[in-house]
Symmetry: C2
Subunit: 337 residues, 2 copies
């Protein structure tokens, strides 16, 4: 457990620390043989330059932070995969943080990142109705941020989203065309941007088809699965919708459980379409109609935008980009398809 660093290597090889350093830094100013000797010894000692020391000098961490509301969720897991893919190619590492949709956690983590812990941040946000000034600090520190999927409209950073409005419109219209008259909209937090936009698509589709919007049919759910089950059960018993448009896959699953227990048959008595990135949606009973976002591609794109900014840094002003990818509506049995 002898400490090893470039100084030790230098002594052992009777070279200076700068030469050792050069061996690790693709510097051309070094004799090939010297370099080989150094690397050989380093391998023997299992030595690699200390990342924290290098970062301190260079002010580059080779690390990007990824902040998401949840990890155990097909959409985010796939998006993270996409981000990882790009990061890896660039030789970057990923610091992962989960907010559980709690705004305070988001703030505290972002503030922590202020101290040069990461070169950039990719995040899907959780605190729509709050003060977003904590993000301004990052701007000052020159830490680029990219939002994906869930964004703050009032913050000027690059954003990767999907055509939620169109998809929601299309899905709702599809339910209407299969005969639904009373379509409930399930949402977790209707005040966050995604909840709002998706709802607008729903509302406008209703209007186009001359169906009056009914506030009672907008069902605001929670993070807790048991509570959601109770809410949805109550809705089905009392409000008796004939269609469900769910903005989040969890709520569609909860609806399935409720229907199973209440012996309500999907799609005969209730039709369902949901936003979902679940790969096995076709295997559900019945197969779930989904609006599927290109999660992996969104991750790729978000990471690409971030690296664009990282690489342009200190070279002129950075143009923030908005990128909108297309979701796809898969009509399956749950909506009579």
């Amino acid at each position: 457990m002898d400490k090893i660093n470039i100084k030790v290597l230098a002594k052992e090889l009777k070279l200076s620390t700068s030469t050792i350093s050069r061996a690790f830094n693709a510097s051309s100013d070094i004799n090939k043989d010297t370099r080989e000797r150094i690397l050989a010894l380093a391998r023997k000692h299992n030595f690699l330059p200390n990342h924290y020391a290098s970062s301190l000098r260079d002010k580059k961490t080779k690390t990007i932070a990824v902040i998401v509301p949840e990890i155990a969720n097909d959409f985010f897991a796939q998006a993270i995969n996409g981000i990882e893919e790009v990061a890896r190619k660039k030789g970057f590492y990923i610091l992962l943080y989960r907010t559980d949709d709690v705004f305070e956690k988001e703030v505290s983590f972002v503030n922590y990142l202020n101290n040069g812990k990461a070169d950039g941040i990719i995040m899907s946000v959780s605190g729509e109705a709050n003060d977003h000034n904590y993000l301004k600090a990052l701007e000052q520190k020159n830490v680029p941020v990219v939002f994906f999927d869930r964004v703050y409209e009032d913050i000027d950073v690059s954003k990767v989203t999907t055509n939620d409005y169109e998809s929601s419109f299309e899905a709702t219209e599809h339910l209407i065309e299969t005969g639904c008259k009373r379509i409930a909209y399930l949402v977790v937090n209707k005040s966050i941007s995604i909840g709002k936009v998706r709802m607008q698509g729903y509302v406008d589709a209703l209007e186009k088809h001359g169906i009056a919007f009914d506030d009672e049919l907008v069902i605001d759910c929670s993070q807790d699965e048991k509570i959601n089950y109770a809410i949805i059960k109550k809705v089905i018993e009392e409000i008796k919708p004939d269609g469900i448009f769910s903005s989040v896959e969890r709520l569609a699953f909860a609806t399935y459980y409720v229907c199973n227990d209440m012996h309500i048959s999907i799609p005969e008595n209730l039709k369902i379409v949901s936003f979902s990135s679940l790969g096995i949606a076709p295997l559900l009973c019945p197969a779930l109609s989904t609006i599927t976002q290109p999660a992996y591609e969104m991750g790729i794109k978000a990471a690409t935008l971030l690296f664009d900014e990282l690489e342009k840094k200190d070279r002129g002003p950075i143009v923030k980009k908005q990128h909108v990818l297309k979701s796809k509506l898969f009509i399956r049995k749950s909506s009579g398809g």
Copy 2:
């Protein structure tokens, strides 16, 4: 975008850098008012001590690395959640790395971690049949490692696993009891520890019930979904098993797709049980019988063991622990339940 650090704060407040530093380090040797003044100014500047500089000094990174074969997988996603939970409570951050089950990626990442990038490592391994010496280097550097779920038997570190043998035995026995005579075992890599142990449970259950083991019924699949589909289709057409015991949930899903396309009815013509952490297994068509590992708890336990070692470091020898949690067999419709 003026650079801010303790020096600047010191100048602004006419104090020394040491005093500033003390204000951030719960040091008692500081006047309360002074501390308040410092923290107030820091807040105004959105300042936090640079993490890389602190780490360099203290040789503590407050970061743990998590290495998993895949992220978009219910088991690992839940395990990561568990790890994150514990890490967060300890004020630690998570560096996430995905190996795609490629041994070389695992090695290269672990080697990278040699340089003091993380204080400890939690991993689920991918390279059973290889030389594991690269892990010895970590030992020298005093970087503790904990394995979970997929482990190397020949490496002496703490391990968190589940009772795979018993579960596999039980699941196979269950299939036999429902009348299966030709049970196929689906595995991704039968040479890795998990594949082996699970297979042993399968083999022994067959033997107990006087069913001859048939090599043909051990189906070695791949990482590629399309190839798996083809393999499984061929098996069902040609080898005609009446039961499937899948060591990995992906393969059970592939089987479902094949059966759907071939109009083979589950469980009438083919019964299935699979290892799986899918929360919505009951919603599949038909509901999937699963052996469900306590993924979240495994993450919690693995992280707890790691922090135990981290906290004991430099204080006597560390005892490596083996922890075996219990999986649960859920009998559902896919196996006639």
